[in-house]
């Protein structure tokens, strides 16, 4: 059994205008020692999906169906105390737009020791030693343990967030767009760090991004999300070489080649649908160049092709 198994997960936001089907029948799994990339346009439900894994979905959002099995236990049905003990220790998360994710009136050292002291029976002194080691692990000098967040740059704050997330050796790390909004050089350094940690700590990771080039260097496996649904899952290399789903193809064509060849930037025409009233049939059909009648009427089911799991009517 995989470390994390998400089955037919459905999360809706119940707004005044209607239910926003942010995550609709999504299934994926993460094995021990595996890195899953979750990619898709803004608003397709990536954050919502991983928030459910931490059980952070709050009103107006609600998990309306499915299972999230982590290490054999169902996260959706466990008690508040069980999920609390899992957070930070079993599953850790670095949030999107983490510039304000650190408490401005607490030293970074205190913010690291806090999570260690919550989950481990060690003394305060030991926890501060651990905090210093964590800072060094993420490439910040341990002498800065008493500094406040405002004394760090954006990239360094993100390093501190990673130091907090990895402080208790979690069994699963979730990174929600950890490098978005930072400049390219800092992005590069952070990705190098994440890769280093992944290898050294043998840490399973779910890596969310809408930047393909970022996934290429970190993840072995990719799930492509579109409008609240996963449309294709495959190994990263294979997805790059032979994307099957028309949306994956468009997504890959929309970015310059990671190897540097000029393939020509093409953006995908049209806009992603609103998730209150998603299109009937395949949700991508209004933007799909290959759409035929059946695409407008029936939801495609997952089929295998070239080792990819794809939800598209074009596959027989």
């Amino acid at each position: 059994m995989a470390l994390l198994e998400v089955e037919n997960l459905k999360i809706y936001y119940f707004t005044r205008e209607g239910a926003v089907k942010a995550v609709d029948d999504v299934s994926f799994s993460v094995d021990r020692d595996e890195t899953l990339g979750l990619i898709g346009e803004s608003g397709c439900g990536k954050t919502t999906a991983v928030f459910a894994i931490m059980r952070f979905v709050a009103p107006p959002g609600r998990i309306v169906g499915g299972k999230i099995i982590f290490d054999g236990n169902d996260i959706i049905t466990m008690s508040n105390e069980e999920i609390r003990l899992l957070r930070g220790k079993g599953i850790a998360m670095v949030f999107q737009a983490a510039q304000n994710a650190l408490n401005p009136v607490m030293t970074v050292g205190k913010q690291i020791t806090e999570v260690i002291l919550e989950h481990e029976r060690i003394t305060k002194e030991e926890s501060w030693e651990r905090a210093k080691r964590q800072l060094e692990l993420v490439g910040i000098g341990s002498e800065r343990v008493k500094n406040y967040p405002h004394e760090f740059s954006g990239g360094m704050k993100q390093r501190v967030m990673i130091a907090i997330a990895t402080a208790c050796n979690p069994r699963l790390l979730i990174l929600d767009e950890p490098v978005t909004g930072l400049d390219v050089i800092v992005q590069r350094q952070l990705l190098t760090l994440i890769n280093k940690l992944r290898k050294e700590l043998r840490l399973p990771i779910i890596f969310i991004t809408h930047d393909l080039s970022v996934i290429a260097e970190t993840c072995g496996k990719v799930a492509v999300m579109y409008a609240g649904k996963i449309v294709e899952q495959a190994s990263t290399v294979s997805l790059y070489e032979n994307p099957v789903h028309p949306y994956s193809q468009a997504l890959i064509r929309a970015y310059p080649s990671i190897k540097g060849e000029k393939r020509g930037l093409k953006s995908i025409p049209g806009a992603p649908p609103r998730l209150i009233n998603p299109p009937i049939g395949c949700r991508f059909h209004p933007r799909c160049p290959y759409a035929v009648n059946i695409c407008r009427e029936e939801e495609p089911i997952f089929r295998k092709k070239n080792g990819h799991l794809v939800a598209c009517h074009s596959i027989k």
Binding site: M54, F56, R84, L85, L86, R87, G88, K89, A92, M93, F95, A97, A98, Q99, N100, A101, L102, N103, P104, V105, M106, T107, E114, V115, E118, H119, Y148, H150, E151, M161, I164, A165
Partner: protein
């Protein structure tokens, strides 16, 4: 480094406070020079007094000199602690005020401390549990209390609890000629203090509830709260260590400004309940047209507010790390 930053911050704030006090002194001097009427006439409200006698007194007080020299004289005397002579009580203003300060401190410190602590706690609970029944309850009560002026609330309290039900005294600080001493005396004082204190607490506390509630709402929606929860911290630790500390920052800042408004409430409460403090003295000075006394009470209140603001600023600089280093680098 942090301490050095804080020291320079403290010095800057102290200098600003001194400049403010000087400005207050100037305004205080000028305002009373602009009031219509002849101060000497006010002093001796006796038609039999001759022009020569008045001229003599005028020279004695230096009122025949140019404004600049008068100001000079005012400053010199002020530095020596001379605030003039009260027309009404015929003794030094400083003495009259000093006699009243302990009573005001007793009432004000007690009432404001209770108001701030209670208001902050209730506001924090309401803000943390926004949208729940307990929030609506706290919010409803505070909005009502906050919108009623102190003197109005005071008069209502007097009517109900002192006049109708007669469970509290009508005014004053202690029962006259009761001969009480020690514990009995203090119990009597507390009994007299109850109504004026509660009317300040309710009015001022309501404002703190509203303030803390909104800054708590703001803090509890911040990303660092989600981070704290993602660490697996208990909800109580998230509230105390993360939400509350951040929510209190704006509350502390506003406390300084609020103290200036509190003065109005203190004067009203002391007047309504005949509490023998500095606030009541302001009212009496106005009624008796005792300009030197009024001038003295103005100065005392203004300086007290500036000093309290200084303390608040220093506390703020201490609890918000972003300020200390802010200017030292």
């Amino acid at each position: 480094m942090a301490l050095k930053g804080f020291a320079s911050f403290a010095i800057r704030k102290a200098i600003a406070a001194i400049i403010t006090i000087f400005a207050i002194v100037c305004v205080n001097f000028l305002i009373f020079r602009m009031v219509p009427g002849d101060p000497i006439r006010m002093m001796f409200r006796d038609p039999r007094i001759t022009a020569e006698q008045m001229q003599l007194v005028r020279e004695k007080f230096g009122l025949d000199k140019p404004l600049w020299e008068q100001f000079n004289c005012y400053l010199t005397e002020l530095f020596q602690g001379n605030l003039g002579i009260s027309f009404w009580q015929k003794r030094p203003v400083l003495e009259v005020i000093a006699d009243r300060i302990p009573q005001t401190l007793l009432l004000v410190v007690t009432a404001l401390a209770i108001a701030v602590i209670l208001g902050t706690i209730l506001g924090a609970i309401a803000g943390w549990k926004t949208g729940t029944k307990i929030d609506s309850f706290i919010l409803g009560i505070s909005l009502t209390l906050y919108s009623v002026p102190t003197f109005c609330m005071g008069i209502i309290f007097l009517l109900i609890f002192a006049f109708q039900l007669a469970i509290f005294p009508l005014g004053g600080i202690s029962t006259a000629a009761s001969g009480l001493t020690g514990f009995g005396y203090w119990k009597d004082v507390l009994w007299h203090m109850f109504l004026p204190a509660i009317s300040i607490v309710l009015w001022y506390g309501g404002e703190y509830v509203l303030l803390t509630r909104s800054s708590m709402q703001d803090a509890s929606g911040q990303d660092y709260i989600t981070t704290a929860r993602a660490k697996g911290l208990k909800e109580s630790a998230v509230l105390r260590n993360h939400a509350l500390r951040n929510a209190l920052l704006p509350v502390v800042t506003i406390t300084g400004v609020n103290l200036a408004f509190a003065v109005a409430g203190i004067i009203e409460a002391e007047t309504v309940f005949s509490w023998p403090g500095v606030g009541r003295l302001v009212y009496d000075a106005v009624m008796k047209r005792d300009y030197p006394l009024l001038q003295g009470t103005f100065l005392v209140f203004a300086v007290a507010v500036v000093l309290a603001n200084l303390v608040v600023d220093l506390i703020y600089g201490y609890i918000d790390p972003r300020i200390k280093v802010g200017k030292s680098e």
